[in-house]
Structure formats: structure tokens, C-alpha cells
């Protein structure tokens, strides 16, 4: 069952998820926070581009940062 959760083929009901977490000695508090939509316009714009365009823009930005002498990455 957990393998299917891990693979994303099914999503666990909240009750099952909490039962698992409790069995592991953890809890998951549900706290409402405002949805951050500040990046939506940027992400939507990016989604409208072809992958090759996304890479081209990233390489241009990287070259620009290189010219300015800053090494900038968000690797992870």
C-alpha cells in the first residue's frame, strides 16, 4: 500500500496518512495559511513556453549573472 503512495499511483485518505504518522511517533497539525499565488503569473508564463525556450532563457540569465560576476544557482 505504501509503495503505491510512494509511486503516486494513489493518494492516501487523511485518516490513513495520520494513522501512519502516529505509528511513527509523529503528528501532522493542519494549519490554514493563505495560498501564495505570487509566483503564479511567472510560472504560468513559463508553462506556456516550450522546454527548449525555458532552457534558452535560463542560459541567457546564467550568462548575464556570469557577466555580473555572481554565481547564482538554485540547485538541489
Amino acid at each position: 500500500m505504501i509503495a503505491r503512495w510512494e509511486q503516486g499511483s494513489v493518494s492516501p485518505p487523511i485518516e490513513s496518512l495520520l494513522a501512519c504518522l502516529h505509528a511513527c511517533g509523529f503528528d501532522l497539525p493542519f494549519v490554514l495559511v493563505p495560498l501564495d499565488e505570487s509566483v503564479d503569473a511567472e510560472l504560468t508564463g513559463s508553462l506556456m513556453l516550450a522546454p527548449v525556450e525555458r532552457v534558452r532563457l535560463m542560459l541567457e540569465e546564467l550568462a548575464e549573472r556570469g557577466k555580473m560576476g555572481s554565481k547564482g544557482t538554485d540547485r538541489g
Binding site: E6, V39, L43, R54, M58, T73, D74
Partner: protein, 172 residues
């Protein structure tokens, strides 16, 4: 002593892989996220290769072509499974080989949901799915990666919305 990192050229890295018929790998990490549209900037390529001996042999040839050296100056040993990440410097920039990224079971796990993306110049690598990229970020458990994780999750949500809208458009 490790040499200075060269400028990042993902096309040169991926073209070298193709020249040596090394194709059983999945692009992960920042570059994969860029391809999916997160709008990040990254200066290296991270890959998860198949660990079959024939694949590793092809990767070794590609690494020789790319003049790869380890960032820590030690000899490259792709057969050493004790290291979670092998960091390399090449003439086309940084390359990380991650046999089993956090939260995954490696190549055979990731290729299941990976997509093949045309990046131009005849380059068409397999890219880890956004859901798998989010899974990896979550499993890393690094606070500094939380904004990136939230960004990937938001991207997935927005993409679903756009896909739904496009579908409705076709129905009309």
C-alpha cells in the same frame, strides 16, 4: 587538485552522452525543474543513470570525452555504490551523478514517470517528472529547499489547471 569549473553548457554534456550512446539516464535536480518551467537558474547537470554494466561503460566513455574529474580530486569510480553523489567537473561544467536520489529507488523508479523532452540540436533526454522532483526535494528534508519544493508543487497544480482548460477547449 581539482580544476576550475568551466562554463555550464548542458548541450555539450548531453551531446557527449549521445555520441557515446549513453541514453539510459534521467535528468533530475535543478536543470530538470527548469525544463518543466520553474524558472530557476542552475549551473550544473544532475543525472540518475541506469546501473547496468553496459550503461556504466558508455557513461565512462562519455566522461573521458568530457575530460571529467572529481570535484575532490579523487579518481572516478562509478562502481563505488557507497557514495550517494559523485560530483564531477567537466569541460562543459558541473555534472553530478546521483545513482539513487533521496526518496527514490534510482533509474528504474524514475524512468517510469519520466518524459522525453526535445531541447533542440537533436537532444532528447529523459526528464524526471515534476511529481518525482517534488518527491526528491521533500525527501531531502532541507529547509533551504522548501521554497523550491513549494514552487514545484504550485507548478504541478497550475499545469493541471492549464491542461484541463486546454481539454475543455478541444471539447468545444
Amino acid at each position: 587538485m581539482a580544476k576550475q569549473a568551466s562554463a555550464f553548457d548542458p548541450y555539450e554534456l548531453l551531446a557527449a552522452f549521445r555520441r557515446h550512446h549513453f541514453s539510459n539516464f534521467v535528468v533530475i535536480g535543478g536543470f530538470a525543474r527548469v525544463i518543466h518551467g520553474t524558472g530557476e537558474v542552475t549551473d550544473g547537470l544532475d543525472i540518475t543513470p541506469s546501473l547496468r554494466p553496459s550503461t556504466i561503460a558508455r557513461l565512462e566513455k562519455a566522461l573521458t570525452d568530457l575530460e571529467a574529474t572529481r570535484a575532490d580530486g579523487k579518481p572516478i569510480d562509478l562502481g563505488d555504490r557507497s557514495e550517494p553523489v559523485i560530483e564531477l567537473r567537466t569541460r562543459a561544467g558541473e555534472l553530478k551523478i546521483v545513482p539513487e536520489p533521496a526518496g527514490t529507488r534510482g533509474y528504474d523508479d524514475l524512468r517510469w514517470h519520466a518524459s522525453t523532452e526535445a531541447l533542440g540540436q537533436g537532444i532528447r533526454p529523459q526528464i524526471a517528472s515534476p511529481a518525482d522532483l517534488a518527491r526528491m526535494l521533500g525527501a531531502l528534508g532541507r529547509d533551504d529547499q522548501i521554497p523550491t519544493l513549494l514552487r514545484v508543487r504550485r507548478l504541478i497544480e497550475l499545469d493541471r489547471g492549464l491542461t484541463r482548460d486546454r481539454g475543455h477547449g478541444i471539447e468545444r
